[in-house]
């Protein structure tokens, strides 16, 4: 249709285009804005989830902000975020770069690597829990001493296990992103580098990595924001334990809201999570610079 590209269609497009956004906007308002406002309002109330909702000013916020459990939950959330980012990013970049090669077997490999992402977090947690059981798990079954540790019963081990499983689950996804990113890098750059005598390592650090800058920011944003919402895996795996060693903020919110019947404080935590997510997303976008949204494709 020439109207979409020709200059004569320009007027029509201006008239119709904004209206095309209406369905999406309605969904966004209905499923994001309204609940968000609802949660904000709830955080200024006292509600046990069953009876009436009573406005109570700042009581819930005060309860949450003075709770010694909050700094701990924030710390654990941050730690899971930081460590899983630090583990996932290099692994994903290396794997993604490797998979971007053109040999046929790599297509098969990338398919295999992708499998963990297809499993549900709850199923993964149940499976790992069975494998790591100190008495009936893999270690006990094979009779290997080093494998039959109390993986989920010691605070730091449990934390390590959570980070490991999260990485195992999501490295495939980010590898896929990096694979796409690497494949977009113009071959001419590598050819020029080869003429200049650069080796593969040099090519990786001087061309691949800088060219992946925006991919790294996109992937990191997804990773970091996503890690704020880790809930299902940890809930099934450790329930926040041992003690409160893996009690992240999202889990803390669930426990307050649905186990302790404290909907007000749970909503306050929900608001804190939203604000943290927004702040981090904005920060990462800033990091990417103003042109982060522009296409990096040659000639586009």
């Amino acid at each position: 249709m020439s109207t979409l590209t020709g200059s004569t269609g320009r007027g029509d497009r201006r008239g119709i285009l904004p209206w095309l956004a209406v369905p999406a906007l309605l969904f966004f308002v209905g499923f994001a804005v309204v609940p968000l406002v609802g949660v904000l309002l709830l955080s200024f109330t006292t509600w046990d989830g069953i009876g009436g909702i009573h406005p109570s000013g700042l009581t819930s916020w005060r309860a949450v902000l003075t709770d010694p459990g909050l700094p701990h939950a924030l710390w654990v959330t941050f730690l899971v975020m930081a460590v899983s980012w630090a583990v996932q990013t290099p692994a994903s970049i290396l794997l993604g770069t490797f998979l971007a090669g053109r040999q046929r077997y790599r297509a098969v490999l990338s398919l295999i690597y992708f499998v963990p992402l297809l499993l549900s977090s709850a199923a993964i947690a149940v499976a790992y829990k069975a494998l790591l059981d100190p008495n009936f798990g893999l270690g006990a079954g094979l009779g290997t001493e080093w494998l039959s540790k109390d993986w989920l019963g010691r605070p730091w081990l449990a934390f390590g296990v959570v980070v490991f499983i999260v990485s195992w689950q999501f490295v495939p996804f980010h590898s896929l992103i990096y694979q796409g990113g690497v494949q977009q890098i113009p071959q001419s750059l590598y050819e020029a580098a080869q003429l200049d005598g650069a080796g593969r390592v040099r090519q990786f650090f001087s061309i691949t990595l800088p060219q992946l800058k925006y991919t790294i920011i996109t992937s990191s944003t997804l990773m970091v924001i996503g890690s704020l919402t880790f809930f299902d895996l940890i809930f099934v795996l450790t329930e926040g334990g041992p003690g409160d060693a893996t009690r992240v903020l999202a889990l803390d919110m669930y426990k307050r809201g649905f186990q302790a019947n404290l909907m007000g404080p749970a909503s306050a935590i929900a608001v804190i999570l939203v604000l943290m997510g927004l702040a981090i997303a904005l920060l990462l976008r800033r990091l990417g610079g103003r042109d982060a949204g522009d296409s990096q494709l040659e000639g586009a």
Partner: protein, 440 residues
């Protein structure tokens, strides 16, 4: 779990979950629309063998009452706890609400969500008189009965593996000191003294329930339940908490207990496979070990006893704790017709002779009086008569703490118990933390 999380939908998680409950609560103030006029709805727990008995009772009732049908939906235990709460909060409760009584029932009552059944029990004294009197405590809020006790009584029992005791050449403990003396004997043989599914938290709680009672008597927890200020700081409480930590420090529990869950029955497996010598658990564990333990129960490997006394303790060694019964309430939002069906079901469909027999076949003691003869004839006669004896002879049969307290206080309790068993807080910190939520 009913919550599906995508990793990237931050708003969906942070905002959607509590808010959707809130919206649902605002949106429908009308009566539960789960069924049309002639049908009452009833939610209960899945999982055999209990599920079969529950649905069997409903099927018989529906057959006998073609005009007033009951429609059943079943849920897995933990999912049910969240689901029923949300449904009641949203005004979408089923007509008949299955529950544990105690603090949760109280929160329903305070929100005006369940009907007062006192007048109905007064009009039908024969129904009330058929049931264990001790089962009504957890159904009563401020002197009024809001639930019908039914199903079975489930005291917490000290199970032990007779074969392991024979191998090591020791006798079952008669006092707390015996327990502490047994610990090194079993550890020396590479057998864990006690199995424990510590990640589930309520499993650890059973130890405190007994120690509080044996050392200080039932008054100690009663004071907490009554909302007395600083009730957790009772000297008997500190002593009980210290004794539990002593047992943990002496390696009384299996290595890695805090990563074992009770839901998967791994704790039971430790006992019947002989990896652990003893286990404190609900009487329902008997049926599980019978079903999963091979010839362990039928071959006479399983021993059971009430929790032993503590030297110098004030509590009666016959006292017990656990679930006095399960409970059925009627949603106040149900239609008059639905309520009538529910009451008919309570009167003629619950704990019928047939159901009583079925409960006994599953290794449980139904709370209907006069089943002694059936218990004696049962395959598991020895165990059932033991449970019946505990239930009917206990001077005090305390309800499990997490059920007796409000959900808010219970969550703090379970959290602090997990920390206490991790040795990351002292008995003193435990009591301080819990004193803060008394009466909440």
């Amino acid at each position: 779990m009913e919550i599906h999380l995508s990793r990237r939908t931050l708003l969906g998680l942070a905002a959607g979950v509590p808010a959707s409950a809130a919206l649902a609560a605002c949106g429908s103030s009308g009566p539960g629309k789960g069924a049309d006029g002639g049908t009452a709805t009833y939610w209960h727990l899945s999982g055999q063998p209990q599920e079969g008995v529950r649905t069997g009772a409903v099927e018989r009732f529906n057959e006998a009452n073609p005009k007033g049908q009951i429609e059943v939906t079943t849920f897995e235990n933990d999912a049910y706890k969240t689901k029923i709460k949300t449904a009641i909060g949203a005004g979408k409760a089923p007509t008949v609400i299955w529950g544990w009584g105690g603090g949760t029932l109280r929160s329903y009552v305070e929100a005006g969500q369940v009907d007062d059944l006192t007048p109905w029990f007064d009009q039908n004294p024969e129904i009330k008189n058929r049931l264990f009197p001790s089962s009504f405590g957890a159904a009563t809020v401020d002197g009024k009965i809001y639930a019908m006790p039914f199903e079975s009584v489930e005291p917490i029992v000290l199970f032990y593996n007779k074969r392991v005791f024979d191998d090591v050449g020791v006798e079952p403990p008669e006092t707390w000191d015996d327990i502490m003396a047994l610990v090194p004997r079993f550890n020396a043989e590479g057998i864990a003294p006690f199995s424990l599914g510590g990640q589930s938290r309520w499993t650890n709680m059973m130890w405190l329930e007994f120690l509080f009672d044996r050392i200080g008597g039932p008054e100690v927890f009663q004071a907490v339940f009554d909302g007395e200020k600083d009730a957790w700081s009772h000297p008997a409480a500190i002593e009980a908490l210290t004794k539990v930590q002593d047992l943990i420090k002496a390696d009384g529990f299996i290595k890695g207990f805090s990563s074992i869950t009770a839901d998967s029955n791994a704790d039971q497996a430790l006992l019947y496979t002989g990896k652990a010598a003893m286990m404190l658990h609900g009487s329902w564990s008997y049926g599980i070990q019978q079903a999963e333990g091979g010839d362990f129960v039928s071959g006479g490997g399983l021993g059971f006893m009430n929790f032993p006394p503590v030297e110098g303790g004030k509590g009666d060694p016959g006292n017990s704790v656990g679930n006095p019964a399960q409970y059925l309430s009627i949603s106040s939002k149900a239609s008059a017709e639905q309520k009538k069906i529910a009451k008919d079901f309570f009167a003629t469909g619950v704990l019928t002779d047939e159901e009583v027999k079925e409960w006994i076949d599953t290794g449980a003691v139904p709370i209907a009086k006069g089943s002694e003869k059936l218990l004696a004839e049962s395959e598991s006669a020895e165990f059932l008569q033991f449970v019946y004896g505990i239930a009917s002879n206990a001077k005090t049969f305390g309800q499990s703490w997490d059920q007796a307290l409000s959900p808010t206080a219970a969550e703090t309790l379970l959290d602090n118990i997990a920390r206490l068993f991790q040795l990351s807080i002292s008995p003193q910190q435990f009591t301080d933390n819990l004193n803060e939520v008394i009466g909440k």
